[in-house]
Amino acid sequence: MDKIPILRMGAFLLVTIQVDLYDRLALNLEADLVQMVNKTSAKGVLIDISAVSIVDSFMGRIIGNIASMSKILDAETVVVGMQPAVAITLIELGLPLKGVHTALDMEKGMNLLKSMIDDTEGEDELDQQDNDPITE
């Protein structure tokens, strides 16, 4: 059974799609990624689609699902390296891609994830201060 490798880098999971993503493979990736987010308590998922030249509505739905499911497990999803022709086609198709962040490349994608995670951790710290009787 073919599997897309999922790499772990600290609190992030990295996926690079370099083969033709047929349906079964895409569905396995969706399931595997969400399982791994859960297992590793990952805070971010980076999907590199720089080698992908066709994204149709099925693929778009997979990406959207990965983002929604990861969000439920407290992880953000960033898609990086989208080819311009793909971006144009996605808009014309009308794919919503809600909750899917994008960045030009891996590095920018990771910086984006880090800034998003820092923001939420800052909020958590503020919440804790409010609940801490000593600071009052």
């Binding site: 149709d56 509505s57 099925f58 739905r61 311009p84 793909v86 144009i88 086609t89 198709l93 794919l95």
Partner: protein
């Protein structure tokens, strides 16, 4: 045909093939090179002998799906190509024809 138009054509084809496999019970695709005046293009005709579409108008609306999909395949495809035609008869099958011009 430039890269963007190629991508549009291939994405449209992907949507229509998917429909054919999922709803039409499989089918066939005819690929033709066509020309109109000085413009050249590709015409794809997807035919199946599946159950057919009872409400074509609904099927052409964004978000409408009889499966559990996004419902973007048909209206989305129409936006990607230059010419789009769909004929369907319940119980007999469906034929979708699209044309993408090289310059258009």
């Amino acid at each position: 045909m430039g890269l963007v138009n190629q991508t549009r054509l291939l994405t449209a084809a992907s949507e229509l093939v998917r429909n054919m496999m999922r709803y039409g019970g499989g089918g066939s695709c005819m690929i033709e090179i066509v020309s109109s005046g000085r413009n050249n293009g590709v015409r794809l005709t997807f035919s199946d002998n599946g159950p057919g579409i009872s409400d074509i108008e609904a099927a052409m609306r964004d978000g409408f799906s009889t499966g559990r999909s996004l419902g973007l395949g048909l209206p989305g495809t129409k936006r990607l190509v230059n010419e789009f035609d769909i004929k369907s008869k319940v119980g007999e099958g469906t034929v979708v024809t699209i044309i993408k011009w090289a310059n258009g």
